[in-house]
């Protein structure tokens, strides 16, 4: 079965600095998708970034980028120029075609941003 591991329960970053959140996953499949979702306090979960496993190029969305290492089964999220609004719980998630559209989530990382 697929599993997703986020080894950092909490992280802190100074405003305007860069922070990297870690995620590793376990799968025997070759074709899949990886996601980072953000859940702000008392607000809805939203998609931050998506990566298709067949693409070698790392996905980027403005200040958010990923470091996708397929062989190592690693998918970290880098947030540059951190802002107070980035404070949230971040979840890494996995999805494969063989598993339908179901997402497998990691335990989450709480990100605190200090002003």
């Amino acid at each position: 079965a697929q599993t997703v591991t986020q080894s950092q329960p909490e992280m802190s970053v100074q405003e305007a600095e860069t922070v990297t959140l870690s995620c590793t996953y376990d799968t025997s499949e070759s074709d899949y998708y990886l996601f980072w979702y953000k859940q702000p306090p008392s607000r809805q979960m939203i998609l931050v970034i998506r990566q298709e496993a067949y693409k070698q190029q790392n996905a980027t969305e403005n200040r958010f980028s990923v470091n996708f290492q397929k062989a190592a089964k690693s998918f970290s999220l880098k947030i540059s120029d951190s802002q107070l609004g980035d404070a949230a719980m971040y979840f890494c998630a996995y999805r494969s075609e063989e598993y339908g559209n179901k997402l497998v989530f990691g335990a989450g990382t709480i990100l605190r941003v200090k002003s």
Binding site: V4, Q6, P9, Y33, F35, Y37, R43, Q44, M45, I46, L47, R50, F91, A93, G100, N101, K102, L103, V104, F105, G106, A107, G108
Partner: protein, 113 residues
């Protein structure tokens, strides 16, 4: 704008009560999901539905059932609530279009006393 709504943000029930959690999406999505979110465990899939009247068990279906009579509405039912079902419940629907992502509702925090 994409919208997924859940019937309650907070709910308090007593052990043994039958509980209904409702989720509505306005995007004509076929796939809908119910997750349970607990600290340190992330989100775990309870049930999902590929279409009207179609449902499949997720990873933790015990103690839950679902109903999908209309495409836009997906209900989670706790037949006899227990204290270990105290949790945050999140509904999601999946877009297979260009965005190819799951859209989440605001969540229902259920407390069973």
């Amino acid at each position: 704008d994409v919208k997924v709504t859940q019937s309650s943000r907070y709910l308090v029930k007593r052990t043994g009560e039958k509980v209904f959690l409702e989720c509505v999406q306005d995007m004509d999505h076929e796939n809908m999901f119910w997750y349970r979110q607990d600290p340190g465990l992330g989100l775990r899939l309870i049930y999902f539905s590929y279409d009207v009247k179609m449902k499949e068990k997720g990873d933790i279906p015990e103690g839950y059932s679902v109903s999908r009579e209309k495409k836009e509405r997906f209900s989670l039912i706790l037949e006899s609530a227990s204290t270990n079902q105290t949790s945050m419940y999140l509904c999601a629907s999946h877009s297979q279009g260009p965005t190819d992502t799951q859209y989440f509702g605001p969540g229902t925090r259920l407390t069973v006393l």
